[in-house]
Symmetry: C2
Subunit: 341 residues, 2 copies
DNA sequence: TTGAAAGCGCTAACAT
DNA sequence: ATGTTAGCGCTTTCAA
């Protein structure tokens, strides 16, 4: 294409047919692996395909077959939030792995967190994809929330109550129970003045983890007034930790709703001269690379993010294949104990 | 789509035409913003479109117009490498921003680093996209290297010598000069026993930065034998730093080919009881978030990654518009001085 | 097992 | 300014 060189003309199915000396229908059958092709014809056609370096035109194929064989991964986040969070890396990797075994290709649509652009809308509704996976932990997006009515959609993470449709499919972990187990571990270690740093209030995962923290404290008859709000970023973790130690100097443990924030908490505590875990024990959530990158290994509630990606893709694929699929898939968390508790 | 509910039938252009009482051609003109439509007809058609909730079918449109209005971002990395590197986040953000102002949609193709799958090949060659941006810092991939012959392609980063085609388009920074300036800064600070930690030898950026390091040392008559090889990961930075201080205990500075690795170097030096910058001065490369996340701010060679993304997209867009475009765009690096030097 | 023929939903000359 | 008419490259009945 350089320098105005005309684009190389791609051979069409018709030319393959001509070269092979068969009809277009037969070539089409070969391409689609139909059993109704005699072995010798198959050889001839495949030779012609190889010879011409033929690659089927997908637009034409989609149009005729009414299937695009591609699915969208919709991420209502800006690139930085998306890339900064190792959770997404795992999910995407998992989805890719599952899709590698299928005929579908993935294409990623980054959209604005608040309201997907008209372009995204058109893309999703314009017959570009056969289905979509939405990894959104945000509420408030009406279009995405109702996307399931126009297209097979699988959500990563439970949609927030008010926008969930009964027919939705989603994959999630039991954030509440996981958080509870994490806090119970702190209690078992003898901690009694346990604070928490939450995630954004518009994310179900954040809300659920806070509830799990309360569950555990209530179960042990402990007070749940030590709380600060974060935003799932490291800087937010630092800020929240400073607020917490100033307001509740007596705290002896913090359950932090994400490892990324917990990593900030570690920095903040060090700055204040507090030792982990001697003075303050920490439990994070995710078991992301951040849990092991500092000098102090982070005790954390692990979620199987990669596997969640696999299951999301698998669920959508089965949906597309017309199978009956469970609407909700809950995956297990587990506690990983390291230095910080 | 839940529970086998039949997919809602999407209205076609023909139905819009019928409802509006005009021909299909007219509706098509309205959709494509042709000026050859009378104001009153335009109103009627737009009303019909809104009423029917019509969204054009892109496959049909692509087929007829011979343009897909979408471009591929090809990333020959696994999800973890891709997500782990803030450089990519910036580039993607930049590309997205530029594309937001255009009619093109982006779709991201993660492929295996060594050899893109047959699926990727088919996707790229099957008329799914009008052009591609390849952000590869790897050599050895013949398919991607020659992709420019079948499709308008812009490369992020210079392709390695042996696989570069004269007609290729690429956007890069002057890694060599940037590295040289970084090392010269160390020399100006009075350092004389300056080591380096390189990136993978199959990446042009890594090779160029090493050469820049040599340039600076040669210019000052200093020795360039203190060298260790890394892999652009934090763990690799740690390993390389340990090797370096063991083999060359006299070193007083290290030029590290990426901030991510430099962040590992900081950890390693601390472990060895070496103070930064008192005992050892450090200069990184990228000016990524890692440069500012630790206690010690990292002096680093900044590259305008986000803007590079913008320029990549812009270059491809102009190429697609049939404009004459420069083959090589070099962008400037700049030195950001912080605590570590 | 194979071929002929009729579209899939849209755009783009060419008329008018 | 608007309509008519051919396709774009493929899949898919329907016959043979």
């Amino acid at each position: 294409m350089s320098d105005g060189t005309p684009a190389p003309v791609r051979p069409t199915l018709e030319e393959v047919a001509r070269v092979a000396g068969v009809s277009r229908a037969t070539v089409s059958r070969v391409i689609n692996g139909s059993p109704r092709v005699s072995p010798d014809v198959l050889v001839v056609v495949e030779k012609a395909i190889a010879e011409l370096n033929y690659v089927p035109n997908r637009a034409a194929r989609s149009l005729a077959a009414r299937a695009t064989m591609s699915i969208a991964l919709v991420v209502p986040e800006n690139a930085h939030r998306f890339f900064g969070d190792p959770y997404f890396a795992d999910v995407v990797q998992g989805i890719s792995e599952r899709l590698d075994d299928s005929d579908y290709v993935l294409n990623l649509q980054l959209t604005h967190p608040s309201s997907p652009s008209e372009k995204t809308r058109r893309y999703l509704l314009g017959g570009n994809v056969d289905g979509a996976i939405v990894v959104s932990h945000h509420s408030g997006d009406h279009f995405l929330a109702s996307l399931g009515r126009s297209l097979p959609v699988v959500f990563g993470g439970r949609p927030l109550g008010q926008i969930a449709n009964p027919g939705d499919y989603y994959i999630d972990v039991d954030n509440r129970l996981g958080a509870r187990r994490g806090v119970e571990h702190l209690i078992a270690r003898g901690r009694t003045r346990i604070a928490t740093i939450t995630g954004p209030a518009d994310m179900p995962a954040a809300v659920d983890r806070e509830m799990g923290w309360r569950d555990a404290l209530a179960g042990a008859g402990l007070s749940d007034h030590r709380i600060a709000h974060g935003d799932f970023t490291e800087a937010g973790g630092i800020r929240a930790a400073l607020v917490l130690v100033d307001e509740h100097p007596d705290l002896d443990a913090i359950f932090v709703a994400s490892d990324l924030m917990a990593s900030g908490v570690l920095l903040a505590l060090e700055e204040r001269g507090l030792r982990v875990p001697t003075d303050v024990a920490i439990v994070g959530f995710d078991n992301s690379p951040y849990a092991t990158r500092g000098r102090i290994g982070l005790t954390t509630v692990a979620q199987p993010s990669l596997e969640m990606g696999v299951v999301m893709a698998d669920t959508l694929l089965r949906l597309l294949a017309g199978e009956q699929v469970e609407h909700v898939t809950m995956m297990e968390t587990s506690l990983v104990v390291r230095d910080s508790s």
